[in-house]
């Protein structure tokens, strides 16, 4: 009997539970092996860039929240820094410290979602619940500061919306002490679990030079063995005041740049974020947080590119000003958008089940891919 040997096309998504949103993958299969993957995006396109052109500069801030909704604080942080760069504003030191504390808490919260859902994608549901339990504590800290759990509108151009509540620093210290042993718990439960390692080690290997050529940034680039972090390499805000390391992937369970490395770099980064938060809480100065907020923002004609190290990589804003109160153009260089572009290359030669393992390790947020 003759066997059917032609290639098959299979659509995965847009309503697939493991795509973390509305992403459609067009798989070309040879049996169970991947020949090629095409990603079709745009299902969550909400015209952020077109909206922003009709807004004044401060009005854009809430829209930035809604791009990467798991790292809203950092989106606002990047936008505020870019507009301040265009205006040449000096920011009070207390504001910078508040922004760094918020940013690093957000990084831990975002990584907890990434790690938890990654485990759940592969079949380990318990760590997912552990991660969300701890993330909830960070969201409570955000809620007492800004009034919202996910979309904050807290970091404004020139300052922050309101000062920290009285108990915030004490509760943050308590959280840091609480969370340190939880990382070990997560390691014991998931990171060094034999089944988990078998599913992720040597899967989707990304070499360093290919990663740079594709513009990959963030934990994904560092997992490929490249020590590159904008907090150190193009430092902004007050990050140069703190002592912290940049963890990189070392191929401990397989090859440098495989899915397990991408997972484990995020665990190590959470430890470093805790170190930054500890130092920032100790050193935070007193001061007025709203003194530098401009009443009316009308930058001169010009253009600026500002960037920050968001939990997923380099988040850049390219702003063109025509001298009016509305931006002429805001282009967002979202790390999820850029990191997703290489996905097809990583999948080639692997099996269908590995597609999910690789996609989870990239950690995309479709809100930012589609904007």
């Amino acid at each position: 009997m003759a066997l059917n040997t032609e290639e098959m096309t299979l659509n995965m998504g847009p309503q697939h539970p493991s795509t973390h949103g509305v992403l459609r993958l067009e798989l070309r299969l040879d049996g169970e092996f991947i020949v090629d993957v095409k990603s079709h995006i745009g299902y969550l396109h909400r015209c952020f860039e077109k909206h922003a052109e009709a807004m004044t500069y401060p009005q854009v801030v809430p829209y930035t929240d809604r791009m990467d909704y798991l790292a809203s604080m950092y989106n606002e942080f990047g936008y505020a820094l870019t507009v301040e760069k265009l205006l040449g504003l000096e920011i009070p030191e207390r504001v910078e410290f508040i922004r760094v504390i918020m940013g690093e808490l957000q990084r831990i919260a975002s990584h907890l979602v990434a790690l938890g859902t990654y485990g759940a994608d592969i079949g380990a549901v318990t760590p997912f619940l552990f991660c969300f339990r701890d993330r909830e504590k960070i969201l409570s800290l955000f809620e007492m500061t800004s009034g919202a759990r996910l979309l904050y509108n807290y970091i404004w151009v020139g300052g922050v919306a309101r000062d920290l509540p009285p108990d915030f620093l004490r509760l943050t210290k308590e959280f840091v002490e609480y969370f340190k042993p939880k990382i070990k718990e997560l390691n014991d439960l998931l990171s060094f679990n034999k089944i988990f390692i078998d599913r992720t080690a040597n899967i989707g290997i990304l070499p360093k030079d290919v990663a740079v050529n594709y513009g990959i940034t963030g934990p994904m680039l560092r997992a490929s063995g490249m020590k590159w972090d904008l907090r150190k390499d193009d430092t902004y805000s007050v990050y140069n005041k703190f002592d912290f390391d940049i963890p990189v992937g070392d191929g401990r369970m397989g090859t440098v740049g495989d899915s397990w490395d991408r997972y484990y770099v995020r665990i190590l980064e959470m430890e470093q974020s805790l170190r930054i938060i500890e130092q920032a809480v100790e050193q935070i100065p007193d001061g007025d947080v709203s003194s530098a907020i401009p009443r009316r923002i009308k930058p001169p004609v010009g253009q600026v590119y500002g960037r920050v190290e968001n939990p997923r990589g380099e988040l850049g804003y390219f702003i063109v000003s025509d001298g009016s109160v509305n931006p002429k153009r805001i282009k967002v260089r979202g790390p999820s958008f850029v990191n997703l572009a290489i996905f097809g290359e990583l999948c080639k030669g692997h099996m269908i089940a590995d597609v999910i393992a690789i996609l989870g390790s990239i950690d995309i947020v479709l809100g930012e891919v589609d904007r």
Partner: protein
């Protein structure tokens, strides 16, 4: 290396293709380059050992909102003529320098040569600039819409004079 020094090197090597060094009133300066030679300039910036721009950080298309503005009675407007721009932010991860390139094309013939061969990163950004602004990237391997639906036939939404369509696939919008 500063951007001024890099401009001098490029000017010497490529001559006419390097149009000018634009000093911005606020923010960043950039080097203006002929849109049909940009791929050669980028390939040189990438491969030269002293410059070694191994990373394309960002690529953005911009509608310059110039040209002759023609306003209709209902308040909608249209630009006759005018230009589109593309900006390239480059960085060298080992030499630690950065530079911004810019190029400008007429809306009537918005042809820019693709730099996808130099940096694979440019692929999706160029597709986005094509989709939202209608910039035509020559030699691009896969120039399709990316954020808008593939069957969107009402033009390019980030153009300043874009008008919402009345119908999409026979359905009236807004409903």
């Amino acid at each position: 290396m500063t951007d001024k020094e890099i401009f001098e090197i490029l000017k010497e090597k490529f001559g006419e293709a390097i149009i000018e060094f634009v000093e911005a009133q606020a923010g960043e300066n950039y080097i203006k380059i002929n849109p049909l030679e940009i791929d050669k300039v980028c390939a040189f910036l990438f491969s030269d050992t002293n410059l070694h721009f191994d990373s394309l950080v960002n690529l953005s298309g911009v509608d310059d909102a110039n040209g002759e503005k023609k306003t209709e009675e209902d308040g909608s407007f249209e630009y006759i003529g005018g230009t589109l721009s593309v900006f390239y932010h480059l960085e060298s991860t080992d030499k630690r320098h950065k530079i911004t390139l810019g190029t400008t094309v007429e809306k009537d013939q918005p042809d820019v040569v693709s730099v996808t061969d130099v940096w694979a990163h440019a692929n999706w950004h160029e597709r986005e600039a094509f989709d939202l602004l209608g910039i035509n990237f020559l030699n691009h391997p896969d120039l399709r819409r990316i954020l808008m639906p593939y069957d969107w036939d009402a033009g390019h939404p980030l153009r300043k004079d874009y008008k919402d369509p009345e119908y999409y696939q026979g359905m009236k919008v807004p409903y």
